[in-house]
Amino acid sequence: MNFLTVGARAIELDKDGFLVDLSDWSAEVASALAAAEDIELTPEHWEVLELLRSFYAEFQLSPATRPLIKYTALKLGADKGNSLHLNRLFKGTPAKLAAKLAGLPKPTNCL
């Protein structure tokens, strides 16, 4: 079993590093998950993570890459909703990595 230590809490992760219990998520947890991936969260990261959380709240699923880009373009404009920007922020795998940091389940349609 994987654990992520945040303050005094040990938070359970699955084998791919996603939260087992989605309600464990908090801003501190996101920062700790990001640190484990050598990412320091900037405001640009946070706006994508918040977007992903609203995508999940609305549709109850994690977006694959294309829908993530489409949704980001819709909500934040085309200069942010493109693969270049998202790849740069999330090490080339935005759908998977951003979902992980946002506390969403692993996208099932990322085949």
Partner: protein, 118 residues
């Protein structure tokens, strides 16, 4: 040019895996940018009923997932008008889905390269 695929979803939403499987094929196809369409037929139209509550059965929220289809690039969404009328389907979710008569469904099936009925 990849082949176009029409998925015909004709199972009710909560009684078995059919409705979920049909949606998963469509979402996967959409994620790969395949030209894909989805038609709700027979009991499948019941997937479109507004106000369903997945939590009551502790299942994944199929109705919420359906709303994501346009985000996944699936914009060809249809339902059989006759099936909907026969089942008294009133308020619907998924405004994007368009009602079709039997003749229009015949023409729709003709238009796609492949058809999968679940």
């Amino acid at each position: 040019m990849p082949k176009s695929v029409l998925i015909i979803s004709r199972q009710s939403p909560w009684s078995g895996p059919g409705a979920r499987e049909a949606l998963d094929i469509v979402l996967a196809g959409g994620a790969f940018d395949l030209p894909i369409g989805l038609l709700f037929l027979d009991d499948g139209v019941l997937q479109l009923a507004a106000g369903q509550n997945a939590k009551a059965l502790q299942q994944k929220d199929l109705s919420a997932n359906l709303q994501a289809l346009p985000m996944f690039g699936v914009e060809e969404l249809f339902y059989c008008a006759e099936s909907a009328n026969a089942r008294g389907l009133g308020k619907r979710s998924l405004d994007e889905a368009e009602p079709l008569s039997a003749e229009h469904i015949t023409a729709l099936i003709d238009r796609y390269d492949q058809v999968i009925t679940l």
